[in-house]
């Protein structure tokens, strides 16, 4: 085991190295292998995107990193080496439940923004209480100091009228505002790694853009590493430096966005990439995801436009104009 570790020691420019990760779920219908041999790197200070269709294991991967896999789920193999700034690297999966590093891992070193802002906050506590709690879990400070820091962070994510807003309950916030609160809660301890699990999927299109801008802006200010899970290839192109393509619980392809988007090795990635309008060679007919890999529910950057031959394509408004569509 220790030999294996030293062989596999984490490279200094990676904050996270996932190796051969396998997760199973025992359900009434039998055993589901949710992840099999998943390996990828998260380079320090950069944005890494995980992309893949629904059920490909993106969320399970994120949960495993945070040690949030609950029965009937179980991690059956692999290692997740994590190198927080200023402390020794360690294997997240090797931590025992009582290890203080596990406490630190969750919320202090790594934090997470979830898909559903409507349900991610508890209905019976005020927004201020829930954001300040994140600080009180990890810092020896008074409630007053925690509250002030929470206010500071909430202001940075764009919430005004803090005096009043912090005393309000989550259901008094709109979806977009709640997601800002969740982001503030995740960033308030200045984690080394921020995991965003489809943070915009549940939001309106216009709000989606605002939240993405916010995440990018805060990433610039706080200089943390980001693991960004999404369905949306357009978001990958906009936001990410590295990309990991997943399907059926496996990693199909991983590398810099430039590599993967320009020269996709795998047919699935090719299909994905060909579906992005801006990347296809000019004059060539754009492939749809379905035409390459069969039916999926991958979402596209722009609403689908039906073509004459019955296929659908994702086009931006300017491209629609170029094609003479109205």
């Amino acid at each position: 085991m220790s030999e294996l570790k030293s062989q596999d020691a984490i490279e200094s420019d990676n904050i996270l190295q996932v190796r051969n990760l396998a997760v199973e779920f025992h359900t009434e219908t039998g055993r589901t292998k949710a992840l099999q041999g998943v390996s990828f790197d998260v380079p320090r200070g950069q944005v890494t995107a995980i992309i893949g269709e629904s059920g490909s294991g993106k969320s399970v991967t994120a949960s495993a990193i945070m040690r949030l896999i609950q029965p009937p789920g179980r991690v059956t193999a692999g290692s997740i080496d994590f190198a927080p700034s200023g402390s020794e690297p360690y294997d997240v999966l090797a931590l025992v439940d009582k290890d203080s590093r596990l406490e630190q891992l969750r919320g202090d070193h790594i934090s997470m923004v979830f898909q559903e802002p409507m349900t991610a906050l508890a209905p019976v506590y005020t927004v201020g209480n829930q954001v300040a709690e994140a600080i009180l879990c990890h810092r020896e400070v008074s409630k007053k100091v925690a509250w002030d820091e929470a206010a500071n962070m909430l202001q940075r994510v764009g919430i005004d009228d803090l005096q009043r807003r912090m005393q309000q309950y989550p259901f008094e916030f709109s979806g977009g505002m709640r997601q800002r609160v969740v982001i503030a809660m995740a960033l308030v301890c200045q984690p080394d790694l921020l995991i965003c699990d489809e943070p915009t999927t549940a939001l309106d299109v216009t709000i989606q853009a605002e939240i993405l801008t916010l995440i990018r802006q805060l990433k610039g200010e706080l200089n943390n590493s980001v693991l960004f899970i999404t369905h949306d290839i357009g978001v990958v192109a906009q936001l990410a430096d590295h990309v990991v393509v997943m399907q059926g619980g496996r990693v199909l392809e991983a590398g810099t966005v430039r590599q993967v988007l320009k020269q996709p090795m795998h047919p699935y990635s090719k299909g994905l990439m060909a579906a992005i309008p801006g990347l296809a060679p000019k004059g060539q007919r754009l492939a749809t995801v379905a035409s390459v890999v069969g039916a999926t529910d991958i979402t596209t950057a722009y609403p689908l436009t039906r073509l004459a031959d019955g296929r659908q394509i994702s086009l931006s408004p300017s491209q629609l104009k170029a094609f003479g569509h109205e």
Partner: protein, 327 residues
């Protein structure tokens, strides 16, 4: 908030007037009245009363007046705090109710504490360790408890109390203290008797409370907000109590208000079996014997306590759950 409470209470007045009339009519419905049974007894003992004497007796109890007048004098007295006289117990109703409601309150509250002290830990354990051996064992025990009527449990406890400890378990006091003035020794005697009704009455609600809590908690345990809190680093025990348990317990907070009416009606059978000086047995006797002031007062108090209890439930629920408060 104050206007809301005032509105609710004012709104209850027509209901109360209407119910008071029904109560009065219902008490009068069965043939005969409060003087009928003593008269029968006297006659069977060979005492002949002239019809004039009977008239006088009835006049003494206002029974010769028309019903609406009888109702009016009853209800005006009731509102001014005079609940009349119980011919059955030969005492003013006020005294009777005051003394019995105190004991009932003590038993009800201690039984509730017992229920929660057993049901909440058991329910939490069952939910957190769902499908474990302990969960199955608790579930089995609780189902047996659910199927056992309280009065049967009371009889069983009395039997074993007598067999094993040689003590007679009925009542709230040992004979030597029953009519003694309050003292430390009497209070001790009272406490040593209190645990039996507490356990018997308390166990009645334990099984259902535990099952409901288990189901509520299982619903909450994997809600996204719990995972968010865990991901944020909240320690396991604090996490359980502050998030899912806090929300799973909400429905029980509102049931506190429903306890109020049981101060009058609750656990009559168990109380009769255990010979407790509570309101339940007195209510039953008053109804059987057509002791109209006592029965009427009990029924009116029951109505008032139900209405106030519902208001308290609503207020507690709003206090516990901001989602309701802001509607």
């Amino acid at each position: 908030m104050k206007t809301y409470i005032a509105k609710r209470l004012l709104g209850a007045i027509p209901t109360l007037i209407f119910i008071s009339m029904i109560v009065f009519v219902v008490i009068q419905l069965p043939p005969g009245d409060i003087v009928t049974s003593p008269l029968d007894r006297m006659q069977s003992q060979g005492v002949e009363l002239s019809s004039e004497a009977i008239q006088n007796l009835r006049a003494q109890y206002n029974l010769d007046q028309p019903l609406p007048l009888q109702y009016l004098s009853w209800i005006t007295n009731f509102v001014t705090g005079d609940m009349g006289y119980s011919y059955l117990f030969n005492r003013p109703v006020n005294e009777l109710v005051g003394e019995r409601i105190g004991y009932t309150l003590l038993i009800t509250l201690s039984a509730l504490l017992f229920t929660w002290a057993v049901a909440i830990p058991a329910g939490v354990y069952s939910a957190v360790r769902q499908y474990s051996l302990g969960d199955y064992a608790l579930t089995t025990v609780m189902l047996v408890g659910l199927a056992t009527p309280s009065f049967l449990l009371a009889l069983i406890v009395m039997y074993f109390g007598y067999e094993w400890f040689g003590i007679s378990i009925g009542g709230l006091f040992s004979p030597e203290y029953r009519d003694a003035p309050w003292s430390l020794a009497r209070a001790g005697d009272f406490l040593s008797h209190l645990w039996i009704p507490m356990v018997v009455v308390g166990l009645g609600g334990t099984a259902s409370t535990m099952r409901i809590l288990r189901a509520n908690l299982l619903d909450e345990l994997n809600k996204p907000y719990v995972i968010t809190a865990r991901a944020k680093g909240v320690k396991p025990l604090k996490l359980l109590v502050k998030y899912p348990l806090r929300i799973a317990i909400n429905p029980f907070i509102s049931t506190i208000g429903f306890l109020l009416p049981t101060l009058i009606s609750g656990e009559a059978i168990v109380s009769i079996v255990l010979n407790l000086p509570t309101t339940g047995p007195a209510l039953v006797q008053a109804l059987i014997n057509q002791d109209m002031y006592l029965a009427g007062s009990f029924l009116m108090l029951l109505t008032i306590l139900t209405i106030v209890g519902m208001l308290i439930s609503d207020l507690l629920l709003a206090w516990a759950d901001p989602r309701i408060r802001y509607e």
